[in-house]
């Protein structure tokens, strides 16, 4: 149907996007790759030299790397656990008949639109602060000792903040999927005497399977790169207690000006993200065929 003429036009229309994305991918990434094999510190100009895999060796054997890798896994895993379980529960609840469903939905999704620096600061100061925070007040009210969240459980606190930001996303997507569930099937199962629990396990969950996978994969991509929340609340501390890979690379390159070491870390972050990306691409790719 398409003529040769329209094909040429189509290619012409497509090329700016392709060239831009190709440039965005290749130019900086190959620079990072190149720097990662260099001794290159912005504070010591003129001493650049090819050092092979030395930067990788330093980065991968640094105890900070293991701490950061562990924290990254905890952060991604913890937030995923809270948001997926909470998101399923909320989606099931919001799918029930009720008054003011639209308003509840608006209340629930609101945190997603709050910029990361705002939510981090609000939680840090107004809720988790051990002197003036609301949690401290509640603790005192109940006769308990106020808990300094960000000093004694920094990673847990950040997980809580990030989960609050991402719960709406999971809920919204799972709710959208819920609403396409066949209600006749549900009713038939109910008439056959299937309990609420077994209807949930055998009908609802399998139906949500695909949406859950999408939520997990997309959140993972974003959660691997959590940055602002850490910068604003703890600066990665105390020690390395709340440093993730993204923050570690930032600290190495822009705080210590170690371009070589930071680049090696960046390449490692890219490799980690790619492992997740492969799965996501398969999911979306399948969808394109239908």
């Amino acid at each position: 149907m398409a003529t040769a003429h329209s094909r040429t036009a189509a290619r012409f229309m497509l090329s700016p996007a392709v060239i831009l994305l190709l440039g965005w991918m290749i130019v900086p990434l190959s620079m990072t790759l190149y720097f990662s094999f260099q001794r290159y510190n912005l504070l010591m100009p003129g001493q650049e030299a090819w050092v092979g895999f030395l930067n990788y060796k330093y980065f991968l054997t640094d105890p900070a790397f293991f701490a950061a890798l562990w924290n990254t896994l905890m952060l991604v895993g913890g937030v995923l656990l809270i948001t997926v379980v909470g998101g399923i529960a909320l989606a099931v609840l919001l799918d029930q008949p009720m008054w003011g469903q639209g308003i509840v939905r608006i209340l629930v999704i609101a945190p997603f639109f709050v910029m990361p620096t705002v939510s981090a600061l609000v939680w840090k100061n107004m809720f988790m602060n051990p002197v003036n925070g609301l949690f401290a007040y509640i603790a005192k009210f109940l006769g308990m000792q106020p808990f300094d969240f960000l000093a004694h459980a920094p990673l847990m606190s950040i997980i809580l903040i990030v989960a609050w930001q991402w719960l709406p996303f999971a809920t919204l997507i799972l709710l959208t999927a819920m609403q396409s569930l066949d209600s006749e099937q549900q009713e038939a199962a109910e008439m056959d005497g299937a309990s609420v629990v077994s209807r949930f396990i055998y009908l609802t969950l399998p139906h949500l399977g695909r949406a859950i996978t999408v939520v997990v994969l997309i959140q993972t991509i974003f959660l691997l790169s959590i940055f602002a929340e850490i910068l604003v609340t703890t600066n990665g501390g105390p020690g390395y207690a709340s440093t993730n890979i993204t923050y570690l690379v930032y600290a190495q390159s822009l705080l210590q000006f170690d371009v070589g070491g930071g680049s090696a870390g960046g390449i490692i972050a890219v490799i980690l993200a790619n492992i997740v990306a492969i799965f996501l691409m398969r999911m979306v790719g399948k969808n394109l065929e239908t």
Binding site: M13, L14, M115, I173, F227, A269
Partner: protein, 276 residues
């Protein structure tokens, strides 16, 4: 009988859902309320919920003291600019892939998606150094371009899924009636594509407004948008809760309202069409 039970059930679900909804929304509500308190009342113990003296003083102070307007304008310029630039590139691309699909269109779409998987920290140093060498560090131009590029795959995908839904028969019918390519685009396609483009625009403005990796790392003073402005409150000055709340409220209010209007598009855009 079933009716009676269902009203009672409905009452329970309503109560539970409202309770949970309010708990989740509470931090935002609390921030907005605190922004109208005096500093003393903001840290009062016990905290007052509504029975305090309402004041607009914090808003006045924030705007006066911190040149709030400049940060706000930077946010607007960066969010709107990167979105406009992105649409300029993405509309033709998504258009041609949706209406003149080739053998490799699918691969191309997947490849575009894969660029979104690149963690920003993997290219932080080159982008930082390139901006510095071109004197673009702390400039709005650099941020507009970078944010356009990181969101481009989402824009293209979202537009593609919208354009795909425009039936091709309509085009053929128009052609049969003797419409030229130009009038085809102006009178047939554009009206059908506008809602999709508008939704895409809305979602992208939200994403760009809240972006906090590049905006924090590539700006210091001049080009700093609201994300960076709020981050500056993490210094001891952040202990002024009422002012922090006023600044936060102003930073999130416009986007919160836009976000509420774009719930459905959000699902489509952020899942690359995998959930609709």
């Amino acid at each position: 009988m079933a009716r009676a039970v269902s009203t009672k059930r409905k009452l329970w679900f309503t109560g539970l859902a409202w309770l949970i909804g309010l708990v989740i929304f509470f931090p935002i509500l609390w921030t907005v309320l605190t922004s109208f308190k005096t500093e003393a009342e903001a840290i009062a113990s016990p905290p007052s919920f509504l029975g305090f003296e309402w004041t607009l003083e914090n808003y006045a102070t924030v705007m006066e003291r911190s040149n709030y307007f400049r940060f706000f304008m930077n946010s607007v310029i960066i969010a709107v600019g990167s979105t406009a630039l992105g649409l300029l590139v993405a509309v033709p691309a998504a258009w041609s892939m949706a209406f003149v699909p080739g053998k490799r269109t699918k691969d191309l779409l997947m490849w575009m998606l894969s660029t979104k998987m690149l963690p920003p920290v993997g290219v932080l140093i080159p982008i930082y150094l390139i901006s510095r060498n071109f004197g673009l560090l702390d400039s709005r131009a650099a941020l507009v371009v970078v944010l356009m590029l990181i969101n481009l795959p989402i824009i293209i995908w979202m537009l593609y899924t919208y354009f795909k839904e425009i039936p091709g028969e309509i085009l053929e019918a128009a052609r049969m009636d003797g419409a030229s390519l130009r009038s085809e685009i102006i009178y047939v396609l554009t009206p059908m594509a506008v809602p999709g483009i508008a939704s895409t625009m809305l979602l992208n403005i939200i994403l760009a407004w809240n972006e906090a990796f590049w905006t924090l790392n590539l700006t210091t003073v001049n080009a700093a948008p609201l994300t960076a402005f709020i981050a500056s409150y993490s210094s001891p000055e952040g202990l002024f809760y009422a002012k922090l709340s006023a600044a936060s409220t102003m930073a999130i209010a416009p986007i919160l309202i836009m976000g509420w209007f774009s719930q459905k598009q959000l699902v489509r855009g952020l899942t690359f069409g995998a959930v609709k």
